[in-house]
Amino acid sequence: MTRQVDDYLEAEIQRLLTEDDRVAEQGITVQRREQSVVLGGEVESPERRAEICRRITERFPDVEITCDIGITRTSVPVDAEEIS
């Protein structure tokens, strides 16, 4: 039976993202779009994004997951802000 995309699933994914030792992310958003789940936000490396998608798909094989997670850039700032 296909898993219903509802509040309980959303909460389960939210907790897995934080409490799963291999993920430990609090900055990932979980949004429901019809019968699929969209993950958003940014992480520090491509490996982390891949691991999140792997873990969620493993745990909820019947749920359609879209992974819109980005990798935060680490460039040098081109300007400074004057504080007054």
Binding site: A24, E44, T74, E81, E82
Partner: protein
């Protein structure tokens, strides 16, 4: 003028080593010090602290940090602090440091802080023991921040926390979780002691700029908010109008 580079929530593990380094090597050209607003690691292990030190240690400018909630996840926060301190990185928790930078003194007082919320939706010291403990931890952190800020003699004073002192820089986060992201008591401490600038992290979906009710500029420097290796803030730009804080 003092140029302060700042970032938070870098969440370093072995997979991040090398990503920040090129930008960090350029720090001396753009800033006089680097302040890091907590969540240095993913799970707060000693191994991750070593990765953090590999990436953020041995820089040509002084580095001052506070820990974040992630750095407490493995109950090894003291060992994590020791790894950082041994690498020459200053870790503040209810304490302060004064950096001599080109003849000017930059004071930094820091605390991790805690939740508790803001304004009319803050948590109250009432009811179950667990609820009172939650409120007390936040209150205690704010009191220690105020004491640390008040004790500093410097030309420019920065308050460094992980949790947010105002709700403005949380804009973008669901209001339902504001009480877990910061506390008005941190803002009250900053206003009571006075500061030139307040820096925090923790709110990955928040907003960069805000101000305390008393008028102190607040910047959320969480890495996903600033979207670059660090931001640079210039303090005391008007060299002629230097005043001593808490002289």
């Amino acid at each position: 003028m003092i140029r302060v580079a700042a970032v938070g929530d870098v969440h370093v593990d072995h997979d991040v080593v090398g990503r920040y380094r090129p930008a960090l090597e350029q720090l001396p050209e753009v800033a006089d010090a680097l302040l890091i607003a907590g969540d240095l690691t993913r799970h707060g292990t000693v191994e991750e602290a070593r990765s953090f030190v590999t990436e953020f240690g041995g820089l040509a400018v002084p580095v001052v940090t506070v820990l974040g909630n992630h750095d407490h996840q493995s109950d090894q926060q003291d060992a994590v602090s020791t790894v950082l301190t041994d690498a020459g990185i200053t870790v503040l928790e209810g304490t302060s440091a004064v950096l001599e930078l080109g003849g000017r003194r930059l004071g930094v007082a820091g605390v991790k802080g805690f939740g508790g919320g803001f304004g009319g939706t803050c948590a109250s010291n009432f009811g179950e023991r667990e609820m009172k403990d939650f409120v007390r931890v936040g209150e205690d952190a704010a009191n220690r921040l105020e004491a640390a800020l008040t004790g500093v003699e410097c030309d420019a004073l920065v308050a460094l926390t992980h949790y947010a002192p105002v709700p403005e820089t949380l804009a973008g986060e669901p209001p339902e979780i504001h009480a877990f992201l910061g506390s008005y008591q941190l803002g009250r401490a900053i206003d009571a002691a006075g500061a030139t600038l307040a820096l925090h992290g923790h709110a990955h979906h928040g907003t960069e700029r805000g101000r305390t009710p008393g008028g102190v500029p607040v910047r959320n420097v969480a890495h996903p908010v600033i979207k670059q290796a660090y931001n640079v803030y210039q303090l005391l730009s008007d060299e002629a109008e230097v005043t001593l804080v808490h002289a």
